[in-house]
Symmetry: C2
Subunit: 216 residues, 2 copies
């Protein structure tokens, strides 16, 4: 299933890069072929159409994400659910930073448009989102068991949390505002959303992103 350096794999890599950085429409198949170093026809031998290639890219991305998430879950241990929420936020930021290019895929409109017609596409997107949101929800549920998080609708709150964090990542890629300096305020806000008692701001973990953009 994984012949180490097949042409097919190489095409997939190039396509991922192009679809992420330039978007679906602005990427031509010939371009992908040229950069990969194969003939135009070769792409169509491996992937019937352009949108099938896109689906393959998305699937590949999804699998990568899932692998990362599993690694995170196996590695990270948290005392409280609240800690786990913070850890998850931090993890999402670092992932978005590390896979910055590929995250752009999710922050374009094309996949969601395709998802309306193509059930496979929709399924990939849903799986990706579900993974992240479930992770947040698990943290919330844990926190509700150990008392570090107040009574909230775990699923809904998880979705809100995810929306907030992802929105901030997106803001960074839009290049209008710097998202980095908001990190500690974000963590603080998350804590407030989830707890009853008043808390002092703790020192924060990481502080990713450093694009040129508006300062606050």
């Amino acid at each position: 299933m994984h012949p180490p350096h097949s042409r097919k794999e190489a095409i997939l890599q190039t396509a991922t890069m192009f679809f992420s950085e330039k978007g679906y429409q602005d990427t031509s198949m010939s371009e992908i072929a040229k950069i990969t170093g194969v003939a135009d026809g070769t792409i169509f031998y491996h992937f019937k159409t352009k949108s099938e290639l896109f689906l393959a890219v998305l699937k590949n991305f999804k699998e990568g994400i899932i692998r990362e998430l599993e690694a995170f879950q196996n590695m990270a241990v948290f005392n409280t659910g609240l800690d786990m929420v913070e850890g998850t936020v931090s993890f999402y930021f670092s992932l978005a930073d590390r896979m910055e290019d590929r995250f752009l895929l999710l922050h374009r409109h094309y996949p969601y448009k395709l998802a309306m017609k193509n059930p496979d596409c929709r399924e990939h997107l849903e799986e990706i989102y579900t993974c992240f949101i479930d992770l947040f929800e698990r943290a919330i549920l844990k926190g509700q068991k150990d008392g570090s998080i107040r009574e909230v609708h775990s699923k809904k709150q998880a979705l809100l949390l995810f929306t907030l964090v992802d929105g901030l990542v997106r803001l960074g890629t839009y290049n209008l505002y710097k998202a980095g300096p908001l990190y500690s305020d974000l963590i603080d806000s998350c804590r407030c959303m989830l707890t009853n008692k008043q808390q002092e701001t703790k020192p924060t973990f990481i502080n990713p992103q450093n694009k040129r953009a508006h300062s606050l």
Copy 2:
């Protein structure tokens, strides 16, 4: 300056509709011409290039938004800053609902890409964002004066708030999750982010959006 029903105006309307609903790339100039009921050349008589037409659409949208914001500010009166935050959130939702099609413009990637090369485009986008964020900030500052909102960095918190609310709107247009049912949880979370004391959930205002999508 405003000859009531000029062709130019008509083209602008059609273009707004198409760029919003189908995106920049997927809209052809001939299409706009055909639907508007003018010859292909007419568009290029009024707008030199496709991207100049897009800029005009964006500018028009910006002006519409600003008008709406001013109307809101002149009309709405709030007892406390916290109320004003809630009112602003509610306003943003209803605006996004009422101008659903045009908001899609902001939720595509193209404008932000164009903004990297084109300063005019960037300025329009910045102005739009600034308007909204300033509105949130004004609410926060008011709340800090009257004691309904705790000590937070007003600009940063305003940005976080906006990100959260806009992210939720976007989620609705993506059609993967229903954003509507989250409205009361959103308001609750906002209140928690901004206040010190514990509060009971109050009855909420409106509850927009009703797309077919995942339930929670």
